[in-house]
């Protein structure tokens, strides 16, 4: 469904990976592994289209994502290192705005429900900067339940989460994959069995 065709990426004039090809199909959970500086984040950003590879292209459903961005972005959910939430707005405001921006219908009740699910009952209208790091991450993760997207690209989604949070997220990945979605993720800790079957892709540190 999503494939990278011989992409090359160099950062600070060091080649991170060269002619790398990678494909995922519906129902895949791809776990990217590699040491610091191997280019995991760069690869994910190329897959989302945020970064442009030096050579090669990324295709979604057989079409170049540069040529048909809106089709791809309707089906994409990306969570990066940065949460994408503004500190002076509440969780509720942040999510509402994000949903409107991504063209997702929403209603207040559903938002409260999802925020409760990620363990933020009573914190819905507190400015996000007053929340702890883990809670902020949960606000960002709430998007997974709000937007129906086929492709999830999650960069280090487990950072700052507690054990319960990790389990919840792994379960969500499993459910998503079982219903025919795609998850591409990186993490420093191994995925547990909670997450279900997954494919590992190793990125070497290159010189």
């Amino acid at each position: 469904m999503l494939e990278a065709c011989s992409v090359t990426c160099s950062k600070r004039d060091r080649v991170l990976f060269e002619n790398l090809s990678l494909g995922v199909k519906a129902g895949d959970l791809l776990y990217l592994r590699g040491p610091n500086g191997a280019g995991k984040t760069s690869l994910l950003r190329i897959l989302t289209g945020l970064s442009v590879p030096d050579t090669g292209s990324v295709k979604f459903a057989g079409q170049d994502i540069k040529a048909y961005p809106s089709e791809y972005y309707q089906q994409l959910l990306y969570l990066g290192h940065k949460s994408g939430t503004n500190g002076s707005l509440s969780a509720l405001d942040n999510l509402q705005f994000w949903l409107a921006q991504h063209g997702v219908q929403n209603n207040q009740d559903r938002l409260y429900e999802v925020l409760a699910k990620v363990g933020l009952v009573g914190l819905e209208d507190v400015p996000v900067r007053f929340l702890s790091a883990g809670q902020q991450r949960r606000v960002a993760l709430a998007r997974l339940w709000l937007k129906r997207a086929q492709v999830w690209i999650l960069d280090e989604p487990f950072t700052a989460l507690d054990v319960k949070g990790v389990a919840m997220l792994e379960n969500a990945m499993k459910v998503h994959v079982e219903s025919g979605g795609v998850v591409i993720t990186t993490s420093h800790q191994m995925l547990s069995n909670e997450a279900g079957e997954h494919r590992v892709f190793d990125l070497e540190y290159r010189f």
Binding site: R45, T48, G49, L50, S51, V52, P69, S70, Y73, Q74, L76, Y78, G80, H81, K82, S83, G84, T85, N86, G87, S88, L89, D93, F97, W98, A100, Q101, H102, G103
Partner: protein
């Protein structure tokens, strides 16, 4: 369309939550203007002669201080990434953000301008000309400034660099704006200067959003 008004409202809302950041450049402007009578001469004629230039230079400097805010928060907290992945047109988003920035940083300046004109002993005609040049010129500052902000937003130490990049670019505006006010002081027509500033504004309005969008993409890379 409602998407863009959504961004407009959100940015306005956030801006008013960070009041200190709104007020500080204005205080800076006021203080810079205060320095001139003290440093040059408090004689009314001298002040009247240098007044337009002083106000415009102070306005440019204070706008450079506030400029960085334009994309900094959105870049740092990742909101910009999410904008880019929403399928919305980035040039349009940039234009909306520039509009908000203009509203929150230059409209207060316009409100403050009678006080500055009084401090520097400008005549009524000069004041009207000053208002008109600020009205036409300040959106130009925001639009062109946003390109450089887009380029430097990913750098940790972008502050001084931003000023280095922008000051030379703002020189024509300074020349035409102050000369308009000078003409007003001599009871001469100054429509031609205003027309040139307006032409520059239109040019910037047509091109800058695309340049801003491109710069933001470069910064994301």
């Amino acid at each position: 369309m409602s998407l863009y008004t959504g961004i407009f409202k959100r940015d306005l809302h956030i801006a008013f939550k960070q009041k200190a950041e709104l007020v500080q450049p204005l205080m800076f402007l006021l203080m810079v203007v205060t320095l001139f009578p003290l440093g040059v001469s408090p004689a009314p004629e001298t002040l009247q002669r240098i007044g337009p230039g002083v106000i415009w230079i102070a306005a440019i400097l204070s706008s450079l201080l506030a400029m960085e805010r334009l994309f900094r928060d959105d870049f740092n907290d990742g909101a910009l990434e999410q904008y880019m992945l929403s399928g919305m047109a980035l040039p349009a988003i940039s234009a909306v953000k520039v509009a908000v920035h203009w509203l929150v940083s230059f409209v207060p300046l316009l409100v403050l301008s009678p006080l500055l004109a009084m401090f520097l002993n400008l005549t009524y005609d000069m004041y009207i000309a000053l208002m008109l040049t600020l009205l036409l010129g300040s959106p130009l500052l925001s639009l062109v400034g946003a390109i450089a902000v887009g380029l430097t937003v990913g750098l940790q130490k972008g502050g001084v660099l931003l000023a280095l990049l922008l000051i030379p670019v703002f020189i024509p505006l300074l020349i035409f704006a102050t000369s308009a006010v000078d003409s007003a002081a001599l009871q001469l027509p100054y429509q031609s200067q205003l027309a040139i500033i307006a032409a520059m504004l239109l040019l910037a309005a047509a091109l800058a959003p695309f340049a801003i969008a491109y710069s933001l993409r470069v910064s994301q890379n």
